[in-house]
Symmetry: C4
Subunit: 366 residues, 4 copies
């Protein structure tokens, strides 16, 4: 803790850029490394989730990402549940490029969400035989919960900029997270959160995983607009401590800590796990795939808020197919391709065989 | 405190950019948040003052800002009290753009201040039915005090780059702030100041509010010219401690701490309040309104000093109407529109219902 | 150690850019300074090695560098041992410039290494009468060790991004460094390593010198791709402590600490020695010579990895002949020419006569 | 002190940019401030020296600077003592602009220094009736000392990049500073130095003033070339402590601490005095005068070193006449004009009447 001034003290918080991993005294052959990720009843081939953002996940890319071995999460409040056929709008946005203003986004997303489209999109993914996950904001979770549950899915994701277990509202019946999760038949992943206390409270609601973050970093302007920022290295490390304490308090319930956002390159994913995350939810790295619906652009849910937008639509370079981006081979030395290979290489270079042990590696501040 | 060298130690001081707010374990519906601000006998709908700068406040924009619910402060030493009709000069400056040199500013502002124009400008604002406030520098406060007081106003603002309660001068009768304020019939807001001691001394003069800052940050070049800088997070936190100590010492007089400058985006206003400020005086954010007299340019009083100018005239993007800038809706995700909405959103996202409690929120250094 | 968060602490690590040398109370005439470097049975006129990178070392430049008084190290896995005549490929790459993609590098380097070319290249250097050194990666060290040893050389360099004495592999017979070095007839220089423990373990294998670093800094993208970084000032200082401890533990075996990479200008070499290095292995500074095979471009072994490239091919300015770059005279004030003169000048300006004592000079952090 | 690594600790050192002055609880009218500077028998109107650099000082500008009230120091090893008429060369360099290479500088300055020109230049300045000062490097001090002393001057300046009282050399008779200064009839100003120990040793040689610095910062590339840097805030503070200790040790001899270089704007001069300097020697701020011989360019003695140049020739904006630069009025808000007015304003704004007391003002680190 340092003095800001005579009436305020503050602790330093660290972003993933502030830290790095140092080589250790051991190395391994990459063939000895295993990065699979088991949450609830499902084992994934790697600990990556695709973020529920319209620039990243369509039903088609959710299926493709699942087939590669990860967990694609569809945004159930985005274009695909507002429009029967959003493709012309995605094409328009792609063609407009920089000229697609915030005002145009606000118009496009003013179209209401349709329950039948939620059902339809989830059905399409389920029929492809991959794990199914859909995301709603806390504001819409109750209204569409039945629809979603009936549609059938493996993970129900409740994702907002800041989600707390103690939301206060004048609304008739604000979301009671613990009750809501208790009554759902499917495991819930919930967040973003940023502190030990919030993470612990979210774990106590019965969630299977908590998202650590505060709006997607690549597109978010929360720092400029409302002064709130979440240095991810610190937030992940705090949530990992909550996981440990809750594990004890609950007599053995392991709630997964999922870093959400602020990871633009594979090295950031590695550092997030080294800070204690079990898995990482990715936006911009997957928006770089040629199949990504964003067509070279990336934006999040905050970009179209009706009276206080807090996100930008940003250009991203299209670097290769989704398969190349996730599994390689890479033809680009900048951490944008072969995300899983990079993770495996990082573990091999530092002598680890699995992510769980890698969470304890020493970091340096630079 | 760190050693600069063997003969000097210094403490680190923090700017608003150095700190940020982290989400807490609570969130709220934005409808439960109240940001009104009561000072002396008047309650404003939000804790924002418009800075007495010619690029920001004309009689017309002071009225408009008051009608929106804030406190507009007219510069009583600027173009509007030097010229019967300054509009042609404002137009010339707008058209000249970058070509409007410091030398031209020095010429324009060499015209003397006219008492009758002070009377006329304040009358115009008063007749509009909004709270009236005008600003003089300490150098001119005595000369025009009678004129100003007779014209009638709600807040008398004494604003200089550095104002102290202990000014030493060879002049015949230097301003005795305590006596001056005691004799005035209207509440006084005075500053800028930057340290605990100065803030405490200014509070003891009987002021209703103290301005914390040292020249407007967006335009000021004091750091380059005279080596003086005021990292605002530290300065506000120090002044807030002075407020607390003076409250005790005075047996209950609450002097408002008003952050003045260095707040270019709504997130900076949020952080200033989180550091302990009661309200914020804004320049550049309001200069971005289409109605602002600066016509896309912004400058402060130090820009036209006759032999040592210490400020620049800087271009600002015009982003929307004054109402959109202050109350929204926003169509820009960069913290330039819907300043009040952003403040309310920040409180809601961190679970606070009012500014006074929000002053105690934890900060991080990043 | 600082808290990253509740579950992680980390120490700050320093790059060479983070530190600097301050003048001391003594100065010397440059004619009183001696920078020669003795390792094993050979004394070099200055403590510089040329890095085994295809943009830096060809047989011809290895000979030229040796004739100037340093130790040139040929990459035995590069173009010169894959192709009988690589010159057309070097020319193609030079002409392509930026257009030479990672994919093209991957193609070029997919050609297998040929044992007879290893023999031929080493013979050519030996016949020129300069000290001979060749480098293999740990992966290839065993396969080609006999060929290399039979070809005859003064130093066998085993160089990888991260080399440990405790490599774990599923391969039939992973490299046992200690056994390997014990059985070789020639002294071995091995690395990179980055920590006290790894350096100590490498010293225990019987190596004559250890390389400190992690991929060449000028071209490496390991930080972005796998999150691993080696702040060199800290790494060198740690390895120097391992040298001291191993000297005691071994009863007097002095293993040389050789900084490898992250030294773009002569000032960086000076700082590396001031941190405790005995010598420096240089890439980009020598790639700036007009004779360098890279023809104005510089790249390392990681740039062509088949499925996870972690290095860039970067342009470098050609500043003068190899002799001018190494021994001067300099006509450029930016630390790119007269590397040895700069080192001598640094010692003279701070009152030292030799590198060994200079390793103890005080540094500052800035 | 922080650990760089296991074998090295280092203290943080601060540049003038790292620190700033905060307003205090007092302010003053500028008319109550006095910045005169008394050294040896002469009182100057302000504590500024013009640096002995060919881009700054010609005999004509030395006279002009003296007439304004400061101390101009002529470089006795520059163009004016190598050429009877250097003006054509200065014109050539001005016209060449960027095209004037280091190699061309090396050629121009290869012309030998001529004793008779030293005599002539000093005579010219003396006849103008202003204080006379000339500078030699330690290398040339002995050879030309007689000539200089016979020519007559008020201050003999011995100025090198690093000057120590304990220079070791193989030369027949290296300069013995203490003996040299003892035998001279005129007061000596000597430096640069950068640490407490060196400053103290230089004070013990009998110097009237010590220069703190290490090559001019605006043009120096010593950091890149030889890894040596002098963060000025720390260096000045250390030298000021040496002044205090030597004052006691010598029973009352006050040796002036003169900051030399790294002060590009008036705010830097203010900070240098706040760190404990008695006066400041300026290069780039005076090279901005229209009369400056550099004609819009600035370079130092290290730029033309024959085999290891360690300085650049850099462009500078010509902002006004020498009088405007030094005494104002200023028409530029960036700290390039009215240097003395800025110094007086800084003292007034913080409530000080004189430089000696101002040396004790609190700084902040930002």
């Amino acid at each position: 803790m340092q003095d800001i001034g005579r009436s305020k003290r503050a602790a330093r918080a660290f972003s993933l850029d502030d830290v790095a991993i140092m080589p250790t005294r051991r190395t391994r052959g990459i063939e000895t490394v295993d990065v699979d990720w088991r949450i609830d009843a499902i084992t994934f081939e790697f600990p990556l989730l695709a973020a529920p953002m319209d620039s990243v996940m369509s039903p088609a890319t959710a299926i493709a990402f699942g087939e590669l071995g990860g967990l694609g999460v569809l945004n159930l409040e985005g274009l695909w549940t507002r429009y029967a056929n959003p493709q012309p709008l995605l094409d328009e946005m792609g063609e407009l490029g920089e000229a697609c203003t915030t005002r145009r986004l606000q118009e496009i997303y003013s179209e209401p969400i349709k329950a039948e489209l939620i059902t339809e999109r989830l059905r399409q993914i389920r029929e492809a035989g991959v794990p199914v996950a859909g995301a709603l904001s806390p504001q819409n979770a109750q209204q569409f919960a039945d629809v979603v549950e009936r549609a059938g899915l493996d993970f129900f994701v409740i994702r907002g900029t800041a989600v707390s277990a103690q939301h206060v509202s004048n609304a008739a019946a604000p979301l009671d997270l613990a009750k809501f999760i208790y009554e759902l038949e499917v495991p819930v992943i919930v967040g973003g959160c940023a502190t030990y206390q919030t993470a612990l409270h979210l774990m106590r609601t019965g969630a299977a995983g908590v998202l650590v973050g505060f709006g997607g970093a690549a597109t978010s302007t929360n720092a400029q607009v409302i002064g709130i920022e979440v240095p991810m290295a610190t937030a992940i490390s705090d949530a990992a401590e909550a996981r440990r304490d809750y594990l004890d308090e609950s007599g053995g319930r392991y709630v997964h800590v999922i870093a959400d956002g602020s990871m633009g390159h594979s090295g950031d994913v590695v550092k997030a796990l080294a800070c204690g995350a079990d898995a990482a939810m990715l936006g911009v790295p997957l928006a770089r795939a040629t199949e990504a619906p964003g067509q070279g652009w990336h934006w999040g849910q905050e970009a179209w808020h009706e009276n206080l937008p807090r996100g930008r639509r940003v250009p991203v370079a299209q670097v290769g197919t989704l398969e190349e981006v996730v599994l390689g081979p890479s033809h680009s030395p900048d951490g944008t391709m072969n995300l899983v290979g990079a993770l495996r290489r990082a573990l091999a270079s530092t002598g680890y065989t699995e992510v769980k042990a890698f969470q304890r590696i020493d970091l340096i501040i630079h």
